[in-house]
């Protein structure tokens, strides 16, 4: 499909007027016709679970931290049988407190 709509920003050294192809989309900072993740939620969680009720499993990133006001560290949460996991309604097995980022799949 011809891409004669939307905004494009190219990386330094690449022609922004060039038509993006499968092989050259990586040369753009952003392309209006190419999807990108949208952040659904980004913030602290003071519980061991977070209910999103999205109806699908979101892409997520979870970090253990020590405070929701004055954190001194962010540590990627343990990926083990007892660690963080997702369902279509919740993110569970979070440490308390934590910092959570949920992304729409695309």
């Amino acid at each position: 499909m011809a891409e004669d709509y939307g905004a494009k920003v190219s990386k330094d050294g690449h022609d922004v007027t060039a038509t993006p192809t499968e092989a050259t989309r990586k040369n753009f900072v952003s392309i209006g016709s190419t999807d990108a993740h949208k952040i659904i939620y980004s913030g602290y969680v003071s519980a061991t679970s977070y209910t999103h009720n999205l109806g699908y499993v979101p892409i997520f990133f979870a970090f253990e931290t020590d405070s929701v006001t004055t954190p001194t560290y962010f540590k990627p949460m343990e990926n083990s049988p007892y660690g963080v996991r997702a369902t279509t309604t919740q993110i569970t097995n979070l440490t308390n407190p934590s910092y959570l980022i949920l992304l729409h799949r695309g």
Partner: protein, 142 residues
């Protein structure tokens, strides 16, 4: 530094002076551009050797970065979990005699999923659902 580009700030933040954390968009930094997303199911023989399946093909000509979430076999409970974890992971018990592993990987043409589990319970067929996102951005050219 080049003084061109586009910045969009969050409400209440001065786009000319605020930090990057207060910018919604800053053209100096590439966004992850999504090539494809999808779901699938891998069915494999538990207590068997490694299983390796094709998840998706692509024609990028370079190795893309990707995100992969998968259901998993809980070796502690000896049962399938319908929750999703980020892969790769490797779980082991009993000094490594009881294991489950999930290892997606990409090449210049494919995204594949290698999975396996062993508990000695005699369970045969296991089906795990997975979710993936492939990006246009290669791991060496961000």
């Amino acid at each position: 530094m080049a003084d061109y580009g586009i910045k969009i700030s969050k409400p209440g933040k001065d786009v000319l002076t605020c930090g990057i954390e207060d910018l919604i968009y800053y053209s100096k930094y590439p966004l992850l551009k999504i090539k494809s997303t999808g779901t699938g199911t891998i069915t494999y023989d538990h207590d068997d050797a490694s299983n390796d399946v094709l998840v998706a093909t692509h024609s990028l000509g370079y190795i893309p970065i990707f995100t992969f979430l998968t259901q998993w076999y809980d070796i502690d409970g000896d049962a399938k979990s319908t929750t999703y974890r980020h892969a790769p992971f490797y779980d082991s018990l009993a000094g490594g005699a009881v294991v489950t592993r999930a290892r997606p990987y990409a090449s210049t043409t494919e995204l594949r999923y290698e999975v396996g589990s062993y508990t000695g319970s005699g369970i045969t067929s296991i089906s795990l659902d997975y979710i993936y996102v492939i990006y246009y951005d290669p791991d060496a050219d961000l």
